[in-house]
């Protein structure tokens, strides 16, 4: 979160990924760090021996990722 905020302040678009269980916490952190509009995406936490290769992004998530990382702005855009 801290890295993402610093990058956004430099004008670099970011996307921070996390597990769904941390969604509320992530939004509160983004707000506390002054960027409530920080781009965030969440997925279910791994179950048992699940590894990332077994939990691919859905088409909607992939579209969101591409959109977030190709938007022109940095902090100003994310702050909305």
């Amino acid at each position: 979160m801290f890295d993402a905020v610093e990058l956004e302040k430099l004008g670099k678009p970011t996307l921070t990924m996390g597990h769904e269980t941390f969604e509320k916490a992530a939004h509160l952190h983004a707000e506390a760090l002054g960027l409530p509009g920080l781009q965030l995406i969440f997925e279910p936490p791994p179950a048992g021996g699940n590894v990332p290769e077994e939990a691919p992004l859905t088409p909607d998530q992939l579209e969101f990722v591409l959109g977030a990382l190709t938007r022109p702005g940095g902090a100003g855009d994310a702050a909305g």
Partner: protein
Amino acid sequence: MTAALSSPTVEYSDYWDWFELACAEGWTDGLPLAPPTEERVGAIVEHLGRPPDEVVAVVPPKMGLATVEQLAIQCAMAGCLPEHVPIVVAALEAMTEPDFNLQGVQCTTNPCAPLTIVSGPVVERLGFNPAEGCFGGGARANAAVGRGIRLVLWNIGGGVPGQTDMATLGMPGKYAFCVAEHYGSSPWTPIHSDFGLPEDADAVTVFACSSPEPIFVPGAADRILAVLASTLPTTGINMFHAAGQLLVTIGLKPTLELAGAGHTKEDVRRWLFEHARYELGHLRRSGALVETEAHQTYWGYVPEHPDLAGLPDETLLPLVERAEDIHILVAGGESQWWAGLSPGWGNYGGYARSRAVATSGSAG
């Protein structure tokens, strides 16, 4: 009262009406609070001798500004006497040093909480309890200081369970977590001297850890050391996959036994580092060590961590990187052979830090 306070005030004639307001506003984690009247807050500010609007620390995760006045309010609600508050201030300053990573400590899923250890002549002077029940009740000073720090972390830092504090289990120490070390009756140097402070200093040492897991260590020094060494390497703590630091609290009775046998605190620390070790085969058989899981790799977050592949099962592995990562506290009653293990958070942070306590004016 001469301190110019700026916080808004409300007038209540009934305590429980005010407490309902405190609950509704989220000023408490559920325990009752003492009303922070202007007189009590003003007395604390005056005792500190610092401007009410001076910022002592920025407290994560909410990044709240811990001004002198806000600290005084939290300490008043905790039931602190003015002379308790410099200890809270010193502890907060130590917790907001970068290596402590208070952001992470406040938010981790681990049950650790910031423990404040009070040491030096101040222990007796302010009536802290370093003896029977030292981690529990028994003295206003322990309770008020521990509670004051918690309310700072709650109200100014915003460490609220399920919102930013994601501790899966939490623990009672999240209500108040303050212990005092024996001073004078301990044969060893105080814990703050391990961090370079003068032995006769009034000091706090903060460390993010769990409540002490009791260890019964009966008998002669060799037996005490053997039991400690065999108990510390448990697989359910963060040390096997994240090293970090741990705290060993040794009661006064076993401490006197160890010292009587000629062991200094440094001797014990070094001995525990060299003998309290994981047996690699046990880690493998226990299921704790799964080589393909990056987050469960032995000391996975240490740069160039040891590569265990190919090592035989009988290999002995240290719990922490250095002997100095084992902290030793002398506290507890003299009547029985008890010690305790408080594992830290691993190498994510929460590392022990000491600060001298300023009796008035700016904290040291």
